[in-house]
Amino acid sequence: MTREYKTVIKARLARLVGIYKLSLLILRKPFTYLVILATILSVIASGLNTKYENNLVVVRDPTITGDPHTMLIRFSEPVGVEACSTLLSGLSLEGHCTYYYRVILDHPYQLVKSRKLIYVVLGVEEEVLKGLGLEDGLSEFSFGYSEISEESATDSMLLDGKILEVTLVHVNSNLLANYLIFYKTPIIPVQGYVGTEPVTVPLQHVLISTYDNVMRLANVSEPLATDIVVTNLSGFIEPVKVFEFLEERYPVTEVAVTGNGYVMYVSEVRIPTPDSLISAVLSSITASIIIISIFSSTTPYLKELRNKIFLMGFQPWAMTIVMVGYTLTSIMFPGLITLTYVFISMGGASTLNSLVTLTTSWLTSTIYIVLRTKPEKLVTEAYMPPTFRYVLISSVTDVRRLTEFIVKLIKTNEFFTSEEVEWRVEGNEAFIHAKMDYVDSWGSGIDLTIFVNVNGEKSYVNISSAVFGVEEVSESMSRSINALAISKIVGGVTAWEATS
């Protein structure tokens, strides 16, 4: 590793360490605790105040006749078939219940002779089987299968390590693929959608049979259902009411009811109400007001800090990074932890509300503090002093000490490597010459000539500089190099004078 490269790395690390130390300095101030508290409380308040409602979707289609009404109820896991009678009696309704047991298997059954894997098993009532062309019904361990050419065939089915002799009865593939249990809801479970078209499991992996047969296969004693269709309803009922009634008792995922020219769907997806969104916005306003007020009172301190670091040669963006880092650490970090707590304890809808609060508070606070600590005039403040000649008047009258300190400042400037530094003190006067190479750009640097003169109770430090480069140095680069070299001396001497 070359010496120049090491110096560049050292200079950049020094800046990083400087920014880190500055961030720590602000973060340790007592007002940070208030900012953290305000954020946490408003995020929780927003989550607590969330009111949500189930997602209601209405699909309009003039071909749908809503008289008599039909209702579809879907469950996330199989439930007892008494769910339908409980619902009808609970809501004082009348209707005819049709049960469906439709499961996608985690571990497929295997048809040994046919060499097929079965992923979907459908248990349906006799009337559905008749609709699929199986008028004679299915005897014990007989299953409808569309992928056999003969009317019926025997096969061995491997399930859970056991072999079961079954009879496969041919079922019309077109009828099975197009059989709908409800509006645009095929009997074969839907795996996804391409556009609006449902994608179902291929028929070669589907077995259909009577309820009794499928219950024997599933090894359960009482009949279970994953979907219930209620036809011939005595009247229209709000699907939201049905959903609210069922969700207290069963793992319901969707309720759909047909009306005249439309179908209403209510799903388990919950969305916050407008009222609770207002509450979230108000919580964020409250947090923002408290945080911004705290920031506004600390602005003089932060501006003072900014001016000090500029004198030390930091760029204007250093303060922006420090402030954004500060708001990230004091607002976003505790906010995200609180958000995780809200998600675990209150659910998704509350988290959305809390997220609105957190994001709004963080954005407003960050924008405010960054704008307030930004230099009024970026260029003049950033490249202070922009002149190539600078006279510094100091109260330090020991010319040797002053000269040695300036030489030290030149040698320790992290933005430059000192190629040569020479000085001479004679009586009340001193002369310093330094040639410094800029570490961030190869082949450019600055030539400093400093004349120190003590006259009575004051000393005068005359700094002259000339920026050089093996290639043409741009004006902004030249000003930057000049400012970085001179400001280190001016700032260093001023601070040293104040503390010594």
Binding site: P30, F31, L34, L37, A38, L41, S42, I44, A45, L48, N49, T50, K51, D275, S276, I278, S279, L282, S283, I285, T286, A287, I289, I290, S293, I294, S296, S297, T298
Partner: protein
């Protein structure tokens, strides 16, 4: 002289940000309480009021220092200053507990009392804090 001191106090209080911040926070909390649907919300907003009252100490710190200094220059006794600062605390505490009073006094009597006392005690720190800050020994 008494009227002069009172005038200075009123001007400082009305021009400071603390009173405005507490008023805005109070209005926000009132609306949050109106839209509440959780039994814990009043207590959570109470904690937010506490944070706001603590923030007011920081917000108006310089102004309070100035007020104390001016009162000292005017020849006020320490007890007068204590009374004025207590009055200010009382005012802020009342504003911050207003939402509970406006919604329903009986339902939120515990939250109201707690908010009032917390705000009052937090703001009483102003006196101690500011006195330390200005290095005025009474």
């Amino acid at each position: 002289m008494g009227s002069n001191i009172l005038m200075i106090f009123v001007k400082v209080v009305t021009r400071g940000s603390g009173l405005k911040v507490s008023a805005v926070v109070s209005i926000n909390l009132l609306v949050i309480l109106l839209f509440r649907n959780n039994a814990l919300t009043p207590y959570l907003t109470m904690l937010l009021s506490m944070v706001a009252s603590a923030a007011i100490i920081i917000i108006d710190f310089r102004l309070h220092s100035l007020l104390l200094y001016v009162l000292y220059v005017y020849g006020s006794r320490p007890n007068t200053v204590r009374i004025l600062i207590s009055l200010y605390s009382l005012l802020i505490a009342s504003i911050l507990s207003l939402p509970y009073l406006a919604i329903d006094l009986m339902s939120f009597s515990s939250a109201l009392t707690s908010t009032f006392l917390i705000a009052l005690s937090t703001l009483s720190l102003i006196y101690k804090n500011v006195r330390g800050g200005t290095s005025i020994a009474f």
